[in-house]
Amino acid sequence: MEREKAGEEGNAPVVAVEDVHKSFGEQKVLTGVSLQVSRGETLAVLGRSGSGKSVLLRLIIGLRKPDSGSVRIHGQDIAGLALDRLGEIRIRMGFLFQYGALYDSLTVEQNVAFPLQHHKKEMSRSERGGRVRELLAEVGMERDMEKMPSDISGGMQKRVGLARALALEPDILLLDEPTAGLDPISAAEICDLVLTLQEQHHMASIVVTHDLHSAKTIANRLILLHEGTIAIEGAFEELQHSDVEFVREFLRDS
């Protein structure tokens, strides 16, 4: 309890990853990654495809377990927690999946209402409806409430996914490739939206992306993953002035 409080106060990290290793069979994906994120901060995790960015995000929300090392959320090590106990921690986290991962048998409205139905049982139907409309208005999707996920575009699916991730007012927001597969205008809209939401909700955010432009727009700190470890960490300007060959190559090619 004291740890939880400590995590919420001041600039104490709400997400702390320490020396995490993860392999799939013979393939070593992460070989000693450590990072910390505090409230109000947005960290962008950059790297080439297959560099383990999404795996790192899944380790943070507990969808995968690290082989070694620890992941602490609000000071609580989540390794080995039972699913229901982990759920209590996840209530305070929002996750936007790369392809939205909307429930295809539910409408846009029902998708956003899903977390509220399960965790805000005290809410009346009309209160829940009001909250869903509010969330969809925040992401500019209030006119498409009745549509099915298959009837809306990829960018719209990401917006709805974002509204669903924000439904329980999380204090940690994890975004997996929020702009991947979108045209430049939609990508810029999503970036603006994330920035606005970040200003309004003051969350600790981690954005995984290989899009340097989005990372520069959204984040106030960046890390670059290379061969399972962090090649460099710092503000965008620090990356620009780096002497590390891979960093220069990545910035040049992005």
Binding site: G87, R90, Y99, A101, L102
Partner: protein, 283 residues
């Protein structure tokens, strides 16, 4: 030393390279992989059962999802189960008439149909038809949710997917299979009577009266309730295969196929054991 020389003279080489061949042989290594996968499958199934049981007995209970699944599994399987039951009734009537006439026991035809349908044909046909319909349906649905990250999204929303997805489906299968069996039994008897009465008219009342002469509840209840075990097998296998899928559309197809094949196989194997138990405890 002497032994080595003797071998060399005789041209026999018993040194280790032969063992190396054994170790690297593709057949041996694929057999080893198969055995490894076999034990891994049962190990994973054990963990899955533990997760489902733990989720099913602790609140919050997903009653709404359970009722939805009861409707989905029960009412939507009813037509196909009834049709299969009716068809089996006709086949039994035609076959039994042919055999019993040869042995001069034609009067036993209603009893033969009733006992055959209630004791074995109705339950096993329901089990196999449900394996096909529910195994493929549940397996493909959950596999599709898995590969599109919807199950991960449920988990990320702090909802236990074993409680929301697996437990209600398995419970609904357990509860609905005996009811579906009663429907298959009823259709089998009615169509058995229709098939008989078309050849040699007999009233339904007399058919039932003659058929159930000597029948007890032991002939109806244990075989009907054994299908709850079939339901458990079908629900468990389909949910397990669906929720452990990997690999896109191919994975979904594989999950649906393996759900049907494995649940049908396990239903037949379980039937062997259950029939033996029923005969022992309900003679």
């Amino acid at each position: 030393m002497i032994d080595g020389k003797l071998r060399a003279v005789a041209g026999i080489d018993l040194s280790l390279p032969r063992l190396d061949i054994l170790h690297t042989s593709p057949t041996v290594s694929s057999a080893r992989n198969l055995i490894g996968e076999f034990f891994e499958w049962f190990g994973d199934l054990g963990v899955f059962i533990w997760q489902v049981v733990r989720a099913a007995v602790t609140p919050p209970f997903e009653f709404r999802e359970l009722f939805r699944q009861l409707d989905e599994i029960g009412s939507k399987s009813l037509p196909v189960v009834a049709l299969a039951g009716g068809a089996i009734g006709v086949v039994l009537s035609l076959e039994a008439r042919h055999s019993l006439t040869r042995f001069g026991a034609k009067s036993l035809l209603p009893a033969a149909i009733v006992f055959a349908v209630l004791d074995e044909t109705g339950p096993i046909i329901t089990g196999l038809v449900a394996s096909g319909r529910l195994g493929a349906g549940i397996g493909a649905e959950l596999a599709s949710m898995k590969v599109t990250e919807q199950i991960d999204a449920i988990e990320a929303s702090a909802v236990n997917p074993y409680r929301l997805l697996a437990a209600p489906r398995i419970l609904a299968c357990i509860l609905m299979l005996p009811l579906l069996t009663l429907a298959a039994d009823f259709c089998g008897l009615v169509m058995g009577w229709v098939a008989q009465t078309l050849v040699e008219p007999i009233s339904f009342y007399r058919f039932i009266n003659d058929g159930f002469k000597g029948a007890t509840f032991n002939d109806l209840l244990p075989p009907t309730f054994k299908t709850a075990v079939f339901g458990l097998i079908i629900g468990l296998v389909a949910c397990f295969q669906g929720m452990r899928t990997r690999g896109g559309a191919v994975g979904v197809g594989r999950a649906a196929t393996s759900s049907v094949v494995l649940s049908s196989l396990f239903v037949i194997l379980a039937d062997v054991v259950l029939v033996k138990i029923i005969i022992a405890f309900f003679p």
